[in-house]
Subunit: 405 residues, 2 copies
């Protein structure tokens, strides 16, 4: 399936000159009708201006009509001026869109516009470039603009991240019915362990969803997707995940269906993000089973996923299970060393606390592919969780040693 925008949405991505390299750096998403919205934000105490701005916007229950995202400048650690620049950006978008007289005809106000930024910290937004760029982005809006928007929000990403899913009622084999679409874009690394390049994501749907349902479904979706990936264990000042529903399909799915669809799209985006982690040469799936509860499985998995020693071993294609077992041991969870069992791919290397007599070649072979999977059984219960990460390469050091220059 070739992902497209849900009904009633248009998007664009243009080069406003914020990035020094001249690549596209300004994304715009506009809905023809008011959207119900829900969002989750970084837990960092140092929040970028757009995060502070958007948190108030959402808390006040504003209906959204547009999302504007710039790359190249994070607008973080920018004080009062940073907040004023968010307001002006929103106003510029509202004015430019209102001038278009879109279907629906409602005049758009600044508080219908959600603002996101990613890039270098400590630099004010270049407002002259936004004043020129926003009208460009508005004139480029298109129902085919999903990929253009995904491109414009990239920083150290090597590929744009787009995902989509849909739901039909009644089912297609029972004749024509209504269909609701979900589509999302993302950039950067993870919600909990994002790199400074920031995790930003917007998911759009034309389903009819109540604000309460949307918030509850988002919380589940993010827990099982963006909160289960890690690139380097750092948490950014700007991380934001927004979901907006404009109801244009006329279809109101069950809350459980919304949850499933939203989780599916977010999980797809999260896995793409881990796969494209800075300098990544491998995509690593870590399944933790046999936990007392899901939180325990998740904590152990996340500790393994962010260990530099584990991640460099994957880069070196070294089946160094000792580091994985040791990371489980310092996760803070009450793991019992003599109950641990570990598999690389299908190779059982560690059973009940001691190494098996496995052939080293088999374990090494399991490390050679681009996609590597590890399973750790804690031997204490029936709960499980899967986390995704990437390896830690020379290229990661190169990228992050010279990011600003």
């Amino acid at each position: 399936m070739n992902p497209t925008l849900p009904k009633g949405f248009r998007a664009s991505g243009v080069a406003a000159g914020i990035k020094k390299n001249g690549k596209s750096d300004l994304a715009l998403i506009v809905s023809e009708m008011d959207c119900v919205a829900a969002a989750v934000f970084t837990t960092n105490k140092v929040k970028a201006a757009p995060v502070i701005y958007d948190q108030k916007l959402i808390a006040d229950g504003n209906k959204l009509r547009a999302v504007v995202i710039n790359a190249g400048c994070a607008n973080a650690c920018t004080g009062e001026e940073g907040l004023r620049n968010c307001e002006e950006t929103a106003q510029l978008v509202a004015d430019a869109i209102s001038g278009l007289h879109l279907e629906g005809g409602v005049q758009m106000a600044a508080n219908n516009v959600f603002v996101m930024s990613t890039g270098v910290i400590g630099v004010q937004l270049p407002m002259d470039k936004l004043r020129n760029g926003i009208p460009l982005a508005v004139s480029a809006l298109s129902e085919e603009g999903l990929y253009a928007a995904a491109h414009a929000i990239m920083t150290t990403d090597t590929v744009p991240k787009v995902a989509a899913d849909d739901i039909a009622v009644p089912k297609p084999d029972k004749g024509p019915g209504k269909v609701a679409h979900f589509a999302g874009i993302a950039k950067g690394s993870g919600m909990i362990h994002p790199n400074m390049a920031t995790m930003l994501s917007v998911v759009m749907t034309d389903a009819v969803v109540s604000p309460d349902t949307l918030k509850k479904c988002l919380d589940v979706a993010v827990r099982k997707s963006f909160n289960r990936i890690s690139v380097d264990g750092d948490t950014s000042t700007n991380d934001t995940l927004l979901v907006i529903a404009n109801g244009a399909s006329g279809l109101q799915p069950d809350p459980l269906e919304v949850e499933i669809l939203l989780t599916s799209v977010c999980m797809d985006l999260a896995k793409q993000t881990a796969r494209d982690g800075e300098g990544a040469t491998k995509f690593i799936t870590i399944e933790v089973t046999g936990a007392r509860d899901e939180k325990m499985a998740e904590t152990v998995g996340r500790t393994i996923a962010k260990s530099p020693l584990v991640k460099t071993a994957f880069y070196g294609e070294d089946a160094n299970w000792g580091r994985i077992v040791a990371a489980a041991g310092y996760s803070g969870e009450e793991v019992a060393p003599d109950k641990l069992s570990l598999w690389f791919g299908g190779v059982h290397v560690f059973a009940n606390g001691t190494p098996t007599q496995y052939p080293e070649e088999a374990a090494t072979a399991a490390m050679k592919s681009r996609d590597v999977s590890v399973k750790l059984d804690l031997g204490m219960g029936n709960a499980s969780a899967t986390v995704w990460t990437c390896d830690f390469s020379h290229e990661y050091v190169t990228i992050n040693g010279k990011y600003r220059t």
Copy 2:
């Protein structure tokens, strides 16, 4: 001062063939008389056999006479056989020393011997090599053996770590009196954030110290030294710090003096360890001031010290203060972004939550030296803490991608 062993101690380091490269890999420290002992161990739930063995030894209040340390094999994840090998190693040492009829004349038992290991996880100790090596180490014992022992416990270390300090009563300028010596050796990275190469350290003194005082002083010393360094945020299965006091000087210092001397030696060893972190090209001192309490300062400092983004920026000599501020923000402490101020060397780059108008060249210049210092003021109180770390280099990835091979 050229560090030497305190009175009544002998040490050696020999090649027993445990390391594949033929370098020395077996260290032995012996005291002519019984020692009072105190130790701290890894908090990892997955503990190596010698850690489990030594914890019982210390808990049972055994007097120590010897410490045996092998490099090249961690004896971790080795089950019952691993524990039996600790016992046999201790017995081999006790038998070989007892055959020497050292001054003091007491026969040594296995439970007078502390056993430490470092190296690869999941492999049983090569006992045939220890059976041959231990008599060699005993015959090499010497009052000049401090550096030989420090050499023999190295793994990925590039230099041996030795530190010493002493205390004279009455003070030298008031005529001859008694002198108590402290000397220590260390290898690996940190107690809280050690790399898999493991932090091991032994500090010896000929001061007269009670078991209670020794334990209390050790807890203070480790908190201000090894617990304040970080190389990569991983916590090993083997980390151990042992301090032994044989009383041979006849001098019983005040507890506060013991605390100061022990802290001085441990801090020296800890800083040497951070400086020699795997692949390190820079030694970084992070001073956090203006905290509500010392724990807050320490937590913020440690979070900064283990951030891969901060550490790669240091490697790239990039004065990327945004990453330091962001790390403070996700430390879990209640930092107030608008009260933060930051200095690179003497360059004030960030004041009360916004960047200053500092010259970028000055900040970059401060990053160019081998030793870099950063000061972060939280603006909330009077407590402070200093932590030490190193940068994150291409060489770190190389070392840890191929450690086992």
